[in-house]
Amino acid sequence: MAEADRYEDVVRTRSDEKFAEFEDTGKGLWGRFHELLHTTPAIVPLIVLLAACIVFGLILGSKFFSPFALTLILQQVQIVGVLAAAQALIILTAGIDLSVGAVAVLCSVIMGQFTFRYGVPAVLSVPIGLACGTAIGAVNGWLVSKVKLPPFIVTLGMWQIVLAVNYLYSANETIRAQDIEAQAPFLQFLGTKFNLGGAVFTFGVVLMLIVVLVLAYVLRSTAWGRHVYAVGDDPEAAQLAGVDRHRTIMSVYMLVGFICGLAGWVMIGRFGSVSPSATTGVIGNIQAITAVVIGGISLFGGRGSILGAFFGALIVGVFELGLRMAGADPQWTYLLIGVLIIAAVTVDQWIRKVTA
């Protein structure tokens, strides 16, 4: 063994010693709360959400806590909620998608135009719309993963392209709710209402909940979900550790395109009509990103949960409805939403700090 010096052998004499020990967390109530915070990051936006509900409840009284108002919030956030789930997925991979809203609008237009212009049965038009969404997602994913362009730029360009195509293809024509109801009610399927203990829900709301829960499950409990986090965390490391980076990114963008298609279908259900000029195309991306960041998902990828994004969407919904009901001027509402965005994230930061 040549000149090797055995001075290190001494460490063997106490090899029973622990290499590293982790302090047992003091398991008081506070300790449990800490642990919860660390294992379930969505808890912070949930707290903010509940606090917001309580505050508005105090201000507005029973008007706010009526089943109508409470289910109204769900009705009003359903589109942003679905888009936020899609956006959260992308942001988990350290990307960002500025085209989500535009894709949703285009998909709804495609579903409508295929039915009314080409006479395709609505049960077929819907899958065609969803396929178009998926295809746009695939283009985004390919540009991000293969051509290695920054997601911000790819989707900034795609946003404008999709929006312009949407206007050009639809010739800016709205398909009226009455016509859809008469000729292709399936397009409005997600607008179907049902009553549950006095509160009115629509299938669109149910779909939003399903999308969020399924994504939460998939991200948490399947290999694919773990790969999404790993790629967002450190793509190089994930690749070396055996994750197929390209396949993961492609699948995420395609899934997001598909979910945007669903959001388009939800839009038809909610508004009854198909309108290419729906504002979601223009500001849906910012709304979704707002929900995601209020929900505590890191813009740098790899951290946060889809439930957080959902709570984020609800927080914005509660604020908007609450302020409107309180009669605030719309500009004051925007101002307060702006303050809310900053405040929510400050609180989040602060909670994480004091419980570190």
């Binding site: 040549a2 290190e8 590293a20 986090y229 550790a241 055996g242 790899g302």
Partner: protein, 264 residues
């Protein structure tokens, strides 16, 4: 502790070339690893050691040359291909996802699914099995006792992280285990554990490639020492026949081993 090293090499490379822009990191490099041996690879910073093992493990694709696994030509398009053949690697950068748990990292890319319906239809991960396996491997290898196998890797110290990476390679490597400077940031005690682990893995009959700048460690555990210089293999020496000074002299170019012509 030494053994005869003739026969078909487990892993062999012929004339590997890898260029990065104007830099030639590998310059017609040869390599062979014999069954059951610990082969150390030493060389200056930037000599191309990491590039060599990245080529062998599929992390990069060489511009030229061929790789043979037990005599059969292979071409790895990704680290996953090499892992499928039982080649496990601990990269210099460790390749861990900081925000994910130890268990997640151990099984990254080869997750276990639940048996039955849950696994096949819902593709649910079998967390319990993965955690038990990880915990068992980590403590079985005497490397560490970690209370919570679910804590994110980023909460571990550098030494602990290196321990997890080595344990992952040792647990899954069935044909070759490659370690790129596994003890660089480790303390005395921790380095010692890794060296012991290397010998345990070898005792299971699995050959090991070890890159290290620590000569005493290299001379302690290696059966053969591959000296890398300027992107290629300069020579292979037997640590029993050479001193550390010889090895250092060869790798730095201070002297030239017999039968090798130093390039102008």
């Amino acid at each position: 502790m030494s053994k005869d090293t003739q026969g078909t090499p487990v892993l062999e490379a012929r004339g590997l070339v890898k260029r990065y822009g104007k830099v030639t990191a590998l310059d017609h490099c040869d390599f062979d690893l014999q069954p059951g041996e610990i082969l150390a690879v030493i060389g200056d910073n930037g000599a191309g050691k990491s590039t060599l093992i990245k080529a062998l493990s599929g992390a990069i694709q060489p511009n030229a040359g061929e790789i043979l696994l037990e005599g059969r030509p292979v071409s790895f398009a990704s680290p996953n291909d090499a892992r499928a053949e039982g080649i496990e690697t601990v990269y210099q950068t460790l390749a861990m996802s900081p925000a994910l748990s130890i268990a997640d990292n151990m099984f990254m890319g080869r997750e276990l699914r639940m048996p039955g319906l849950m696994g096949q239809v819902f593709r649910k991960l079998d967390r319990k099995r993965m955690e038990d396996f990880s915990r068992q491997k980590l403590s079985e290898l005497g490397l560490m006792t970690i209370q919570n196998i679910n804590q994110p890797v980023e909460t571990l110290s550098g030494g602990q992280r290196q321990g997890v990476a080595v344990a992952r390679a040792a647990a899954f490597g069935s044909r070759v285990v490659i370690l790129d400077e596994p003890t660089a940031a480790l303390g005395v005690k921790e380095s010692r554990r890794v060296l012991d682990l290397i010998q345990e893995v070898r005792a299971r009959g699995i050959p090991i490639i070890l890159i290290s700048h620590n000569m005493p460690h290299v001379f302690e555990v290696a059966d053969r020492v591959h000296i890398h210089r300027l992107g290629k293999r300069l020579c292979v020496i037997d640590p029993k026949d050479h001193t550390m000074s010889d090895a250092v002299a060869y790798m730095t170019g201070a002297s030239v081993p017999e039968g090798v012509a130093e390039p102008a």
